[in-house]
Subunit: 144 residues, 2 copies
């Protein structure tokens, strides 16, 4: 029941883009340095975000990445589901393919549905803008 590095790094990457949004494209190299994550690994992760249209890449020198939308338009759920895959706690909730033949008689299914809803309620209502705000709050505590 753990979020993997892919999802966690993707969130920090997107937050880094949101926080360092100066108008200039931001290099993977700089994000990797700030976040202390392997840049080669971040490349793979941002590639997924790029293909999904969550970020826009600019190639060549002075290139880098930019968010394509306002931070408030990205939910954490969008980012995590894209990079982690489904957040459902059991496979049988995922789609029609993974349904198991015990479904009609399985009492634990109701539990998994409740858990799934609880998870979605959080990740679908927290946005990147919230993360930015929380980050700023934390930083202002430090200034004091």
């Amino acid at each position: 029941m753990k979020i993997s590095t892919k999802g966690r790094y993707a969130l920090r990457l997107m937050l880094d883009l949101a926080l360092n949004n100066t108008g200039e494209p931001i290099r993977i190299k700089d994000i990797a340095a700030r976040q202390e994550i392997s840049d080669k690994y971040l490349e793979q992760i941002i590639s997924t975000l790029n293909k999904a249209g969550f970020v826009k890449s600019i190639r060549g020198p002075q290139g880098g990445y930019r968010l394509t939308k306002e931070p408030a338009q990205y939910t954490v759920g969008m980012i995590l589901r894209l990079t982690e895959g489904s957040l459902a706690p059991v496979a049988c909730l995922e789609d029609e393919v993974n349904t198991c033949e015990r479904q009609d008689t399985c009492a634990t299914l109701k539990l998994w549905q409740m858990l799934n809803t609880a998870i979605s309620d959080v990740v679908d209502h927290v946005t990147l803008a919230d993360l930015v705000e929380w980050q700023n709050e934390k930083m202002s505590n430090y200034v004091i």
Copy 2:
């Protein structure tokens, strides 16, 4: 972000014990047959439940297992945490050992705390008695 077979099987095992509680010890072999799970694998899982005092074993012929408490006294969280380990979505929420040095400045930590709370709110309030009830509801639908 998946519950593994250990946790899922442990729940079904405990539910099976609760549903088939005739006073007689229940054999692993029978649970395995009803649940269509490898009995050797179930042995390993029930061993954990036994050591934790969740079930009581009776050795020898006519032996088996019994619940030690009323179904309402087991929360799903107790069973899952015992068999799965911590249900926290990230390691840094687990204990003092796993704290990361980014904690004081990490905005995503708040997200993980919210997710952790949401998960706990479900698993700590659903009991084995609830699963029994849901199972009976499902079964009564079939009788019609």
